[in-house]
Amino acid sequence: MLHIECPWCGFRDDAEFHYGGEAHITRPDPSTTLTDEKFSEYLFSKTNTKGLLLERWCHRSGCRRWFNVLRNTITNEILEVYPVTEKPSSKQGKETYERNWRRKSPPKKTPKTDEVK
């Protein structure tokens, strides 16, 4: 059972919260240059780290507000809670933010195999 500190309501059981997945994903511009690969990456590619992960939570059964969390997915330890509009401020949080592939290399293409008939 996770014990999550909502910035407005304090510590509560995770049963009260809704998980929003990875934080800091930017929707690409819907321009004519937007490729299927790029949009697929935005929609489906996951960070899914074994270790520190920046993620979104919503206090669904409480104040119903969203906030961001830095959590270790091996130990479930929560290291930082911060507002959705901001970047993490702790050292580990900053490192995790910078290390993320979304802010680094361009995506690699998936190979084309036979299309479904």
């Binding site: 995770d14 997915t73 592939w101 690699k108 998936t110 195999t113």
Partner: protein, 432 residues
């Protein structure tokens, strides 16, 4: 000539010794079962293999077995970071069925179910496959209608399925409460009579033994730490026991597919989450089929030992901790007691968690990857056990031929770019 004959004789005699039969049982009974030969070797890791399969679970061992048997590959290793069958193969609730709605899913799960039906003979190992039927309940009018529509789709694919009334369900499962006044009344259900359960460990052990007899090296405690990739093609695997050269690498690491993909430099559309299960104290036979319910969210069967095996949905958040939240178990048990009031005084013996790799469309990935000669079989989510033989069979085909066959092709990675998603949330959301 004599030498030749002796050689042939010794080969048949070892083969006979290794074959499990009534005769070998009687023979070993005489020596009080102290002289059984080991079911598989523990070979030293060789520096080079034609094919390396990462992950010695059911799917990985099945892959190696079919590669050796059907594709004549001689030089294969299966490596695992822990012990054989110690991951999700040893942690699931062993439910087997093929009643999926979409043609693509029906293709692979029915292929698998057909292999299950002859697997014990094929492997000469009793997998304790029991076709006791899988019965899914409907608790609302809408659910029953949707279920009926799904049953028709399933039957069009030649897979057995039939809708049952509450009265017919009560006949099959006398202990169920079909009182219409319940918060979630049983309004009907559908059954696949060819579905059932199998002994999870026996599946891993059976494939391991059969693959070993075909010359496959199974290397345990050999964690992968990276890959050697040259000009976009795989050349070897780095492990804690040293580097292995390999022409082809198949990766079947449920729970850690994302981690291993990152080592190879690409990302998967996978979230890894805890899935919990638990068993009760053993009781006398009370339930001889598998019951599943999507609305009240639980599934239950009784093992041959008499324990009730219960499971529910995965936890909502990503985690590699192999443990989940208690509220999931509370919800699962509340649902079980609502349907079966007779369970209310049962004590639970133990609970555990595994890490499941879930895809956005609740369907697996059996695919080539951006790295040439590196193949991934992953993303089975909460329901991979039922697919063990079929998954290994088509994955072996993909590795051997470098092209997916018609069953595996729809499950390639590029479906997430092309948009050909196989949305099985309705069928796979709960049933594992």
């Amino acid at each position: 000539m004599i030498e030749k004959r002796e050689k042939a004789k010794s080969r048949t005699s070892t083969h006979k010794e290794n074959k499990y039969s009534l005769f070998s049982l009687a023979k070993n009974a005489v020596s009080k079962h102290k002289n059984w030969s080991q079911a598989w070797r523990s070979p030293e890791l060789k520096p080079e293999y034609d094919i390396v399969v990462i992950g010695a679970g059911g799917h990985g061992l099945a892959t190696a077995y079919y590669l050796a048997k059907e594709h004549g590959s001689k030089n294969i290793a299966v490596i695992d970071k822990g012990w054989l069958g110690g991951g999700n193969t040893g942690r699931n609730t062993t439910i087997i069925r093929s009643n999926y709605m979409w043609d693509e899913s029906a293709g692979i799960y029915e292929h698998s179910l057909k292999l299950w039906e002859t697997l014990s003979h094929e492997l000469n190992f009793n997998t304790m496959f029991s076709q006791r039927g899988v019965l899914t309940l409907a608790h609302t009018e809408h659910e029953l209608k949707e279920m009926t529509r799904r049953v028709e789709a399933i039957r069009l694919n030649g897979i057995d399925s039939e809708v049952l009334s509450p009265r017919a369900i009560k006949q099959i499962v006398p202990i169920i409460d079909i009182n219409p006044q319940l918060r979630y009344p049983v309004m009907g259900g559908f059954i696949q009579r060819r579905g059932g359960t199998a002994r999870h460990d026996a599946v891993a052990w059976g494939y391991a033994r059969a693959a070993d007899q075909l010359g496959v090296d199974i290397i345990q405690n050999c964690e992968v730490t990276g890959f050697n990739i040259k000009k976009g093609a795989i050349t070897g695997v780095k492990t804690v026991k040293g580097e292995i050269k390999a022409n082809k690498v198949g990766c079947v690491v449920a729970g850690h597919a994302g981690v291993v993909a990152e080592m190879a430099g690409f990302r998967l559309p996978i979230d890894s989450r805890p899935l919990q299960a638990l068993v009760s104290e053993p009781i006398k036979p009370i339930l001889d089929t598998v019951i599943m319910s999507n609305s009240v969210h639980m599934y239950v069967s009784q093992s041959d030992k008499g324990e009730l095996v219960l499971g529910a949905g995965a936890d909502s958040y990503n985690s590699y901790s192999q443990r989940g939240s208690l509220n999931i178990i509370e919800g699962m048990l509340a649902a079980a007691v609502e349907l079966f009031p007779v369970f209310s005084r049962l004590r639970m013996l133990r609970s555990w968690g595994g890490i499941v790799d879930t895809c956005p469309d609740a369907s697996p990935i059996i695919s080539k990857t951006p790295v040439k000669n590196l193949y991934f079989n992953c993303g089975w989510g909460t329901g991979g056990f039922k697919a063990t033989p079929g998954s290994g069979h088509v994955f072996a085909d993909l590795i051997a031929k470098d092209e997916p066959n018609s069953i595996a092709a729809p499950f390639s990675l590029d479906r997430f770019v092309g948009g050909y998603l196989i949305d099985e949330h309705g069928a796979a959301g709960v049933a594992h």
